[in-house]
């Protein structure tokens, strides 16, 4: 048998292009469904684990999936904003602790999560290096975000502009990294956390600039009326919050009107949760612009859809796999005809039909073994990076 394997190996090695093609074909047939299964299992685990630990989410009416994906997994689809008044409304009920979230901006591709310190307590996030948020303009990085960006406490991080072509849009703001979180194997690992007010600074709602009362340059002032100054575009707006300029930062209007994307409502008990949901449902009949969601229900619906799609995909893979296997059998059958001369030679040299069958069997065994090895390696790679792959492919 060892000699058969040796001769088969020499044949396959000599015709390496043909052999490699066969190995790749067989590997693909095996890897596709298995890797998909692996990734779907991981996505199910990730989605469910986070959803089940988040009791209620409140946000603007619209896509419940976008709202949950944005507020739990910091997904790219930003829901319609609601105002901070919604936070006060929940707090006033005394049924739940509201944790506001503003997930709209990004820094080098990673989501900037504007929130307050209650979020850290709720998720059980621990500071691994540095300290937690304390001042305006500071940020704390998730473990993998810090690794990906190569940043740590004391470094600076620029927020990304929303668009390069809107002069009146969101400008990059330089944030100070003050801490790095311990890994949690969740979406928090790949996030940049800032205080809500810092998120509003990024948006330009809270801002700091030169003291207009002290300016002497007439080109800085467009209009001066009783008690009011209107500045020209020449006025320097700060894009970095420093100890020197921090006191110049201020907001205009009422904080209750400032935007957030969602509220995590943390009810004191099941009864409180039911009452709070009931109030939103009741208000919904009277034109309530907000919705309250149980994330686990939304994710369960999403998973049901995914697994319905998966069953279709499985069927497609089965058909494609069967067709590929048949094609491979045809290739082998045709190669036997092409190798008729070679087979006649080894027959003349004294090889029996059984040995010829064993040689061909050894070739097939080597191809299958190589494909199995490659499949195992690919699955190991997928398994090792499944969390990141799931986040990249399914949970954005």
């Amino acid at each position: 048998m060892i000699d058969s394997l040796y001769v088969a190996w020499r044949y396959l090695r000599y015709h390496w292009g043909r052999s490699l093609t066969l190995v790749v074909c067989v590997t693909l047939i095996a890897v596709l469904p298995l890797a998909l299964e692996l990734l779907l299992d991981e996505s199910k685990r990730q989605l469910l684990a986070r959803a089940e630990t988040t009791p209620l989410v409140v946000g603007a009416k619209g896509s419940s999936l976008d709202l949950v994906m944005n507020s739990l997994y910091f997904g790219d689809s930003v829901p319609e904003p609601i105002s901070m008044a919604a936070v006060d409304r929940i707090a006033d009920t005394d049924l739940a602790l509201p944790v506001p979230l503003y997930v709209r901006f990004k820094a080098r591709g990673l989501p900037i999560v504007g929130t307050n310190l209650d979020y850290f307590d709720f998720r059980g996030l621990k500071i691994q290096a540095g300290r937690n948020l304390a001042l305006l303009g500071e940020c704390v990085l998730g473990a993998r975000a810090a690794e990906a960006l190569g940043l740590g406490p004391g470094d600076a991080l620029l927020s990304s502009p929303e668009t390069l072509f809107d002069l009146a849009g969101v400008y990059p703001m330089k944030m100070r990294v003050v801490g790095v979180l311990a890994p949690t194997q969740s979406a928090d690992d790949l996030a940049v956390f800032v205080d809500l007010k810092t998120a509003w600074v990024i948006q330009g709602l809270v801002h700091g600039h030169q003291d207009l009362g002290a300016v002497t340059d007439p080109t800085l002032v467009m209009e001066r009326t009783d008690g009011n100054l209107t500045a020209t575009a020449k006025l320097v707006q700060y894009t970095e919050i420093t100890p020197e300029n921090i006191n110049s930062f201020h907001l205009h209007g009422s904080p209750a009107d400032y935007p957030i994307t969602a509220i995590l409502a943390l009810p004191h008990d099941k009864k409180s949760a039911a009452l709070l949901r009931g109030r939103y449902v009741a208000a919904g009949d009277q034109g309530e612009p907000q919705q309250i969601l149980v994330p686990a229900d939304v994710i369960a619906g999403l998973l049901a859809s995914i697994f319905r799609i998966k069953s279709v995909l499985d069927a497609v893979i089965l058909v494609v796999g069967t067709a590929t296997v048949l094609a491979l059998v045809l290739v082998l059958a045709l190669s036997l005809r092409l190798r008729a001369g070679e087979i006649a030679t080894i027959f003349k040299l004294g090889c029996s039909r059984a040995t010829i069958a064993r040689l061909l069997g050894a070739e097939i065994a080597i191809i299958l073994a190589a494909a199995a090895l490659l499949t195992g390696l690919l699955l190991a790679v997928v398994g090792h990076h499944d969390e990141a792959l799931v986040r990249a492919l399914f949970i954005r």
Binding site: D3, S4, Y6, V7, R10, Y11, R13, Y14, H15, E342, T345, I346, K348, L349, G350, C351, S352, T355, L359
Partner: protein, 246 residues
């Protein structure tokens, strides 16, 4: 060594027919078979080696009627007793020279591959001038080198009967003499028997006996069909004047 009686063989759906009433080759004898193309020389070697079976008659090699053996026994008999240098070398492109020489040992249970065999293979390759090409594949060898590799493969199991089908056909005069010396020495050393098909009339003097398939005074006769006869006439005008069938 070889004793053929009342042998009849025909390929299906062809006009070819080989008919040998009687033919014998003594142990240790060196016999050359000549004759026009298509006259049945290679078929004779295939019958003697047991690659094909006669439809009628007896082919005895070393006292064994190989026509009566089962496929497996005939194969085992051939592997142990008969070395065959094929006309078109029959080398496998995917194996290097050394593996081609050792190939019969890898594909049959009748031969055992060990260090001694490997050493003998290398020595044989050196003797035939391909010792420095053991790692090359046949496609990278000249015709003559490929032929020498085929001879190495046939000689390696030290057969009692060596069949050579145009064994020196593609060699230059220098190598032709060298290879023939090696064949003869190898046969002599083992007191083996040599049955060689050749078109090379210069070599005939070195054989103890010569059989001409086209010669009716030879030990046997060959019959060929009308089509083959035409080919032969085209290939060999001198022979075309003589009737080929009886």
């Amino acid at each position: 060594m070889i004793d053929i009686r009342a042998l009849e063989f025909a390929y299906p759906d062809s006009g070819f027919r080989l008919d040998i009433p009687s033919f014998a080759l003594r142990d240790g004898e060196k016999l050359a078979v000549i004759g026009p193309s298509g006259s049945g020389k290679t078929t004779l070697l295939n019958l003697v080696s047991g690659i094909i079976r006669p439809q009628r008659g007896e082919v005895r090699v070393a006292g064994t009627d190989i026509g009566t053996l089962s496929d497996a026994h005939r194969r085992a008999f051939r592997i142990r007793n008969v070395g065959f240098v094929f006309q078109d070398f029959e080398l496998l492109d995917y194996l290097d020279v050394l593996d081609n020489i050792l190939h019969p040992y890898r594909i049959t249970g009748a031969l055992r591959l060990d260090r001694t065999v490997r050493a003998r293979a290398r020595q044989l390759a050196d003797d035939l001038g391909v010792g420095d090409k053991l790692a090359r594949h046949p496609s990278h060898l000249s015709q003559g080198e490929r032929q020498r590799v085929a001879i190495c493969r046939a000689l390696l199991p030290q057969p009692r009967l060596l069949l050579a089908d145009e064994a020196t056909g593609n060699l230059d005069p220098h190598n032709k003499g060298r290879i023939l010396d090696l064949l003869f020495n190898s046969v002599d050393a083992r007191a083996a028997t040599l049955l060689a098909v050749t078109h090379d009339h210069e070599l005939l003097a070195r054989f103890e006996r010569v059989v001409d398939f086209a010669d009716f005074q030879s030990d046997f006769r060959a019959e060929v069909g009308a089509d083959a006869r035409a080919d032969i006439r085209a290939d060999s005008p001198a022979d075309s004047e003589r009737p080929l069938a009886t």
